[in-house]
């Protein structure tokens, strides 16, 4: 038996399913040639965004990555606006100017997904500093991959967050690959949380495919930050079940390796526990998947029926006050 309550368990599950459905639909649309550009899927890593976000408030901030759909959805993002952005439509989150890699939703504290790996670290310091100067009890979550941990920005941000005790939770999604390069070839430590001692902050390693483990670890780190006790570095071990981007030839790993990790994927793993604990029945499970399938289909319909931006829109939004 697990020690979390049923409503929390179902909340975690629903968030994971919502992300999985959105990403699965997105993958299909991309393969059908309906989405321009590049899309990076979060499939297999849903437990991290779901587990972390369960303890966040609407006014807390998150900073995300190129693999960011899951982070925004878990924070309460709107599927319709995100899907429309994936299509490049004017009704999208960024009116088609950002695309899949640059979703932001300032109304829910989502300060933007970053196309530059590691670009989010310094910005998270600023959000944390702002909270401290404004004397609120908000917190900041900065999601990042194992590859980003090797940027200089990681070092500068962790050091600065530590000396100023900023309310930031650095959440590493260690999915074993930095694009096509295996982690063991690029990371000096076994897992990123080992680096926490260098910054005098707590370092927590947890199973990133176990949503309950992520939830508990993140809850403690978030509460600590909210109390003004400073940042935490979490490293969640997971696996990217899809390619770096849709269409990735994936020559850097074997089909067998991927198949092995499909057996450990977080949603099926959680369902087993949920059934054992009586949190979920087969009928409830079916209803939840259908609910999000329907939401995703409506998002696709909304996106397809929405117009592309007027080309002149490309010349707007550079400045608040263009001084013309």
């Amino acid at each position: 038996m697990s020690d979390i309550d049923k409503s929390t368990a179902i909340k975690l599950y629903r968030t994971m399913v919502r992300i999985r459905v959105f990403e699965t639909v997105t993958e299909k649309l991309f393969l059908e040639g309906k989405l321009p550009g590049f899309v990076h899927l979060y499939i297999g890593e849903e437990a991290i965004a779901a587990g972390v976000s369960a303890s966040l408030r609407r006014d807390d901030y998150i900073l995300s990555t190129h693999r960011g759909h899951g982070h925004t959805l878990a924070k309460g993002g709107d599927m319709k606006k995100m899907m429309a952005e994936n299509y490049g439509k004017v009704t999208g989150y960024c009116k088609g100017k950002g695309g899949s890699m640059h979703i932001a939703d300032f109304s829910i504290g989502m300060l933007g997904a970053n196309g530059v790996v590691g670009g989010q670290f310094p910005i998270s310091v600023g959000a944390g500093l702002s909270i401290k100067m404004r004397k609120t009890d908000q917190v900041v979550v900065a999601y990042f991959g194992d590859g980003a941990a090797n940027r200089g920005t990681f070092h500068e941000a962790l050091n600065m967050a530590s000396i100023w005790k900023l309310p930031i939770i650095f959440v590493n999604e260690d999915n074993q690959y930095a694009s096509t390069t295996r982690k063991v070839r690029t990371l000096s430590v076994e897992h990123v949380a080992q680096r926490a001692c260098a910054y005098n902050v707590p370092g927590i390693r947890c199973d990133g495919n176990d949503v309950i483990a992520v939830y508990k670890a993140a809850k403690e780190a978030i509460e600590r930050a909210r109390r003004g006790e400073g940042p935490t570095l979490m490293s969640c071990q997971t696996y990217r079940l899809k390619g770096h981007f849709i269409g990735d030839p994936e020559k850097y790993r074997t089909h067998e390796e991927v198949e092995e990790f499909w057996k450990k994927e977080p949603i099926g793993r959680f369902e087993k526990i949920a059934f054992e604990n009586g949190w979920l029945t087969e009928d409830e499970k079916k209803a939840i998947w259908e609910e999000y399938q329907k939401e995703a289909e409506e998002a696709v319909k909304f996106a397809e029926e929405s117009p592309y931006p007027d080309p002149e829109e490309a010349l707007k939004d550079v400045f608040v006050n263009p001084l013309e």
């Binding site: 989150y93 960024c94 932001a104 910005i123 404004r134 920005t153 600065m160 001084l323």
Partner: protein, 325 residues
């Protein structure tokens, strides 16, 4: 009218704005011990001890901290110590701060001032003497201010602090002790607006920052030879006041553009191009540009003097533009 230095004008602008707006703060390296390394923040650490923050030597995190704070309700001024160090923070400035509002479809504002001392002439050597303003005109999303006098520094810095967009504010390090008249009463100078620093009828010199002073000395010398020079101080190089330039060019028909940073690919190249595109028929001679030689800025005084332009270069450029007419 009282006279104060550029450094004092900088501190005054900040203190006045900080008194009115509690969201303004200053962040950077070595700010509180001496009120900034050029005395530009003297008085602020005592008056606003919680709003001027000394940082680790971490330029990407310093600028990033400005970006994140600006996104979440604050109005930071980031001190970059020396403009040379801006190269370390190009991602935070160009791809993040300058791009976010556009990239996020207009959802966000970027009320951030990146403040940096630039310029040569102090034998500070290749890593502490450069001027990079043209890069930030080249990439979109930034307003770029390059003032030359205490009066302009104060009025423009106040505008920059009130602006909701990213402003890069470059002050020439040789000018911090330069004194000039600044009224006691409050005033602001709008961004973009150029200033005619001297009226003239034969040649227009478009310039900014340190070169304004070199140009004014050259103009005095040329006056004795019967040549009347109009000096346009752009003050803001992006967006810039093309109307002010055009008005003067139509009057004189002769244009010199002078800046201390490199001539190749510099602000003068863009200005010259726009002037010939829009005002070709008014020009009586090819535009002449004055800028640094295309080498790093050297240390030894005679070498540095050889590389960066001064009043003699402006003098010769004015003569040249008139000879070619």
């Amino acid at each position: 009218m009282r006279e104060i230095t550029v450094a004092q004008a900088t501190a005054e602008a900040l203190m006045e704005e900080m008194s009115k707006d509690p969201t303004i703060f200053i962040i950077g390296e070595d700010l509180t011990a001496h009120g900034g390394i050029f005395g530009q923040f003297v008085g602020i650490p005592e008056k606003f001890p919680d709003r001027i923050l000394d940082t680790p030597i971490s330029e990407t995190a310093i600028v990033g901290a400005g970006v994140g704070a600006a996104l979440t309700g604050m109005r930071p001024l980031v001190d970059l110590h020396f403009a040379d160090f801006i190269t370390i923070t190009m991602d935070e400035i160009v791809s993040q701060a300058a791009t976010m509002r556009y990239m996020f479809g207009g959802q966000s504002k970027m009320p951030l001032v990146i403040w940096a001392p630039d310029g040569a002439g102090l034998s500070a050597g290749p890593h502490h003497s450069k001027s990079f303003e043209s890069w930030f005109m080249h990439a979109p999303g930034m307003k770029v201010v390059v003032p030359s006098t205490p009066y302009d520094v104060k009025g423009l810095l106040k505008s920059a602090l009130r602006d909701d967009d990213l402003v890069l504010f470059f002050q020439h390090k040789k000018l911090f002790k330069f004194k000039g008249p600044v009224p006691e009463e409050e005033y602001i100078i709008p961004l973009k607006k150029a200033d005619v620093k001297r009226e003239g009828s034969d040649v227009t010199v478009v310039t900014y920052s340190m070169m304004v002073h070199h140009t004014l000395s050259a103009a005095k010398r040329l006056e004795k030879e019967g040549i009347s020079v109009e000096v346009i101080d752009l003050r803001t190089i992006w967006p810039f006041d093309f109307d002010a330039v055009a008005e003067s060019v139509k009057k004189t028909g002769h244009v010199v553009i002078a800046h201390e940073s490199w001539k190749v690919g510099g602000v003068g190249a863009e200005l010259a191009s726009q002037i010939q595109e829009k005002l070709f028929d008014y020009l009586d001679a090819p535009i002449v540009r004055v800028g640094a030689e295309h080498v790093p800025i050297p240390f030894s005084p005679p070498l540095e003097k050889r590389v960066i332009p001064d009043d003699e270069d402006v003098y010769r450029a004015v003569k040249k533009v008139l000879e070619e007419a």
